[in-house]
Amino acid sequence: MAAVATPTVFSGSRNEYRVCPVTTLKVDVAAERLIIWNAVTAIVALTLGGTYALLIGLTRWPDVHLLSAPWFYRLLTAHGMNMLVFWMVFFEAAGLYFGACILLNARLVGVKLAWVAYALMLVGAVMVNYIILAGEADVMFSAYPPLEASPLFYIGYILFAVGAILVCCIFIATILVAKKEGRYQGSMPLAVYGLLTAAIIALFTLGSGAVALIPTLLWRLGVIAGIDPGFYRVTFWGFGHSAQQVNLSAMIAIWYSLGTLTVGSKPVNEKLSRTAFVLYILFINLGSMHHLLVDPGLESVTKFFNTSYAMYLAVLGSLIHAYSIPAAIETAMREKGYNKGLFGWLLNAPWKEPGFSSLMLSLFIFGFIGGPTGVVLGAGQLNLLAHNTWRITGHFHATVVGGTTLAFMGFTYYVIPLVFRRPLFAKALVRWQPWVYGAGMILLSVSMTLAGTFGAPRRHWDVTFTNAIIPVQLPSLMNLMLTFAGIGTLLAVTGGIMYVVVCVGSLFMPKREARSLNPLEA
């Protein structure tokens, strides 16, 4: 910190730059290429995961019951891996390069290493997809030992994780070098701060994943005799749940960015927002304990302290963002003159603009459904009534899909004109996409939650238990909820198809510089 920043921009650097005509930001061309490749790969993973989502959604709809049991479990495993890991992390890699290079006017450190990271992640993702579809890893996303998957599954998982660790290190190195070279003055922008939070959380996450998965691989290779399932659960969820906290932090960074891009909002208080991010860095990973609340062997104090993120301090962080993001939008809109009444600013907001509607829907779904259900499920005694039921699935579809995925989708509509430098394809579709996807996700996650309260288990092919030796009858209201969930799936998949059509179509639009910040006019 004591070193004096000397503005030596460009000197001694082999990197090429272009200047964006709309934002006047300086763009490292090498980083831009990485952003494009990572983002495109993310969308391929989303397309795969979405196809599986349609098939498994139609299977859990009792009147349709499409797939056979083995294929249901197989595609559910593939759906989890593609959505929770590959789509998210590839998109976040693109986001980290964007934040570190473009927002800081900086050069990407270690371009070659970044391509190595991309290759590792790609090889890992392809291996995992292949081995699952080949039927040699019907173990779900969590892959609890002693369930056995082919060693190639774990090798793919680990290769992907190593690639992701490299991405985080490159990101951190880039912002450190940017500071040293004086590429930006003072503190980094809030959006980059959020991405830094995500990267730090990701490093813990991936380390914990390595501690879980490497011994499991050794066990599958016959090097060690076995692996303790309790040890695996602790370390795996240090990865599995924390990975969603990475998504959360990245999503919030994107919320702040979208607020600025759409209505020109400015954080109401930098200290407040940054404090919330620091609370995440410190405490949010303790939330991994949510998965272990009804596990044998852990003391109640361990469970309570960790599930509460040390006195709910990470929840406090979220509540701060829940205030500071809409407050920033409100003050920006009021400064523009929309000052009428309590909600004049909200009624006159640019709802037709896909970035803004995604932002607000994502805020709403995360804030009113995903977050609060998480707080309820995280209370130990209540978790007893919800563990492994479809309530859990409903909770994380509201957070990671209705929240994070929707925010990422909204951000894409800015990335395409500004980074890919192509106008959006089918603008009429773009306007409606966030609404269709958001509505589907609300219906899906609420139906899942309610079905779970009536006892519907997660990861389950047949809740009528037709061929079971001892018959079981679950309440008929649950069947109604399962049907609603099926309809929600169809709606959300429609929104997903709209998104993919827009993205793929845009790739074939003629290349040209953006003319406006508004993606519908660019």
């Binding site: 109401v268 509540l319 409100e330 003050t331 009021r334 309590l342 909600f343 009113f368 209370a379 309260t453």
Partner: protein, 42 residues
């Protein structure tokens, strides 16, 4: 921050976050009620 609405910077947001607060409290206590139907576990 010059333009204030009756002395508040963001009164609409304040209403929204308090709605959120009551919603969380409702879900939290509402769920505790369901516990009384369950078996006593210690």
């Amino acid at each position: 921050m010059e333009k204030k609405h009756n002395g508040w910077e963001a009164p609409g947001t304040m209403v929204l976050v308090f709605l959120l607060f009551f919603w969380i409290a409702f879900l939290y206590f509402g769920n505790w009620v369901t516990l009384s139907q369950a078996w006593g576990m210690r």
